[in-house]
């Protein structure tokens, strides 16, 4: 997030898109509800599904999945045509506006309406509201990014924020909501194939010198090319170029797209090691499994969606012979050529903070009270609540012209429904944690597929019937939930249930830049199962 959770109630307009906030980020959603109910802010919801936030929305635009670029280009068109741009901000803080103007000239609301199914009048009203409130904030999650056009979707949202000057002040901003508890930190600390900690590029000579020196490695030994992303690793394993895979705390056999393909890939490698707290679907395929500990049995830090670095503290003894992940990694390193001797997590933090500019002023001692939001460059710096207040990271904000392209797989006669995937309130990701809580699992014990009642009637499917959902890649069985939440023609499933692994169906087509898979759109068919369900 460019902004902070605590400044959400200052927004006059909230544009929430591709985020089922009340279920996936419920406590952050409380601040959105506060903005609407207590402070009179207007919520523009742009989402195909009638999710919980729809009850709080002033406007709900229900687009056909995968047509986001068309809608946001048309909103930009309206804002420019009606003279609602913030020209001072554009002149002082941005560049390339003329190219954007040219690119959206033909993107009339009528053209976007024909593609997205959203009435043109709603697009116009959303554009006017967003541009004229004085403080408009955009929020999104995987509904924007998990598309082959994920990067484009983010660019068109950034265009809207910049052309209206809705950046750099409380109650504004472009705010992606991070899913996992520490996905922000895993990115910040270099858990990505293209960057060292602090987003310093592995292709940079200076960065390689800096880390070679800090780590005591000869400069020539530093690898100078970008490594593989998750999806590329699986392809590499299948093609024989990746021979050994080590996995810490992830379960690609449930969370990756096109699972049959992942299974073949993990079977193909010569060596697979998995470090986790449970023997999950991926661990069962491994040659070696290393028992690690949960958040309640170790110390360290997580970084949340507003860039706040916060402590976790050990509360329980480690179970059996399990050990904290950092000790396991250290032991493996020392059995290779390393000579690491970290006394505790605070000492590791000190080393990484010294190499990571955004974290440079932080220490475990400073995080004790309330954590700190990065960037925090010095030991006196109070942290940063709002990014891009005076300038953007690259200097001037760059407008980018984006053209609309269709999703990788469109519906046809054989696979006539769009499948979109996501989460529900009661479970988490692959279900490893939440499905072991009997209270949560009792509320949502089985995989369901949301089907619009009109589609249910056409298919001869009643509420609660077991149905088979199939794509070109696989099939799963789930219980039909007839509901108007999903629009007719679109079905929705979660990926929480290993016994009905939705990612057997999903497509491994990825965004060309971010390499994120298109979980939100693939083509499926839905069939009633002839067998009665077992009680």
């Amino acid at each position: 997030m460019t902004n902070s959770i605590s400044d959400i109630p200052q927004a006059r307009v909230l544009l929430v898109t591709g985020s089922n906030t009340t279920e996936a980020h419920p406590v952050l959603a409380l601040q959105m509800k506060k903005a609407v109910r207590q402070n009179g802010a207007k919520l523009i919801l742009i989402d195909p599904r009638r999710i919980g936030l729809a009850d709080f929305a002033y406007l709900h635009l229900r687009q056909k999945p995968g047509t986001d670029v068309a809608i946001y280009n048309a909103m930009a068109h309206v804002i420019i045509e009606e003279g609602l741009t913030n020209d001072d901000f554009i002149a002082a803080r941005t560049e390339n506006f003329d190219a954007l103007k040219e690119a959206v000239r033909d993107w009339t609301p009528q053209r976007a309406a024909a593609i997205s199914g959203v009435p043109a009048a709603q697009i116009v009203e959303a554009a006017r509201l967003y541009a004229t409130s004085g403080a408009s904030a955009i929020f999104w999650a995987m509904g924007i990014t998990q598309h082959t056009t994920g990067t484009d979707n983010v660019k068109v949202l950034a265009n809207l924020a910049m052309m209206t000057g809705n950046v750099g002040r409380p109650g504004t901003g472009v705010n992606p909501l991070r899913g996992q508890n520490n996905v922000q930190g895993a990115c910040d600390l270099g858990g990505l194939p293209n960057v060292f900690p602090g987003y310093q590029a592995v292709t940079s000579v200076d960065a390689r010198h800096k880390f070679a020196e800090a780590w005591g490695v000869p400069y020539e030994k530093m690898n100078d090319h970008v490594g593989l992303t998750v999806t590329e690793m699986m392809n590499g394993a299948l093609h024989g170029t990746v021979k050994a895979i080590f996995i810490m705390g992830e379960n690609p056999m449930l969370s990756d797209p096109n699972l049959s393909h992942v299974k073949e890939a993990l079977e193909a490698v010569e060596f697979l090691a998995v470090q986790d707290i449970f023997l999950n679907e991926t661990g069962r395929m491994a040659d070696v499994v290393l028992p690690a500990v949960s958040f309640a049995e170790k110390g360290g830090t997580f970084t949340n969606t507003e860039r706040r670095v916060q402590l976790i503290r050990p509360a329980l003894p480690t179970p059996g012979n399990a050990r904290p992940d950092w000790q396991i990694i250290t032991d493996i390193a020392n059995r290779l050529e390393a000579d690491w001797s970290y006394a505790d997590e605070a000492e590791i933090f000190a080393e990484m903070a010294a190499l990571t500019p955004q974290y440079a002023g932080m220490s475990h001692a400073r995080l004790e009270q309330d954590g700190l939001q990065w960037p925090c460059p010095t030991s006196e710096h109070p942290g940063t609540a709002v990014l891009h207040a005076g300038t953007f990271a690259r200097g001037k904000g760059l407008f980018q012209a984006v053209n609309y392209v269709t999703p990788a797989e469109e519906v046809d006669d054989d696979y006539p429904y769009i499948l979109s995937t996501g989460r529900i309130l009661f479970h988490w990701h692959g279900g490893t944690m939440s499905r072991r809580s009997p209270g949560l699992d009792a509320i949502a014990p089985e995989a369901e597929v949301e089907i619009h009642p009109d589609d249910g009637e056409q298919l001869g499917i009643a509420h609660g019937d077991l149905v088979q959902v199939s794509s070109r890649r696989g099939q799963v069985v789930a219980a039909a939930r007839l509901t108007r939440r999903s629009p007719a023609g679109t079905v929705f499933m979660t990926f929480h249930y290993a016994e009905a692994a939705t990612n057997l169906l999903t497509i491994d087509a990825v965004d060309p830049t971010a390499k994120i898979p298109e979980y939100k759109v693939c083509a499926v068919k839905v069939e009633a199962l002839p067998v009665p369900r077992q009680q």
Binding site: H25, V27, L28, L30, L177, R178, G179, Q180, N181, V183, G185, A186, L189, G190, G191, V202, M222, N223, G227, L228, M233, G236, V242, K243, A244, I245, F246, I247, G249, P252, E267, E270, M285, A286, D287, V288, S294, A296, G300, F302, L311, R313, P317, G320, N321, A322, D325, I332, R335, E337, I348, M352, D370, L425, M433, R436, S437, P438, G439, A514
Partner: protein
Amino acid sequence: MLQADQVVPTTCPYCGVGCQIDLHIKDGMIFRVNGRFDNHVNHGNLCVKGRFGYDYVHAPDRLRQPLIRANRSDELAPTDWDIALNTVANRLRHARDTYGPDSIAILTSAKCTNEENYLLQKLTRAILGTNSVDHCARL
């Protein structure tokens, strides 16, 4: 009312909001969790997972012992740390020295700490010599 032996302030392990919580511990078990008020994130609030979703910590099927097998057709069997760690180190070294550093791929974790992510990418880059380290940020 049940009295805690210990109340430990920490951060919720579920989503990216990072709610601040108190774990109430009695006889080595988490028996109550409440949201903390003294912060800028959750102001005492929690969702249903953050308040009640901790049984997994005490689940009987938690991994307590390293497991190993010589062949994929065998069952995984308990082993000791030395054998497990030596096997991992030797097999990674073998892949690196035989096929080159880029024959190794590492998945780090959005569920693990910053410190652990830092160390695993350091192992990947400084010792194994590849940049093929990624995690589920995209998933």
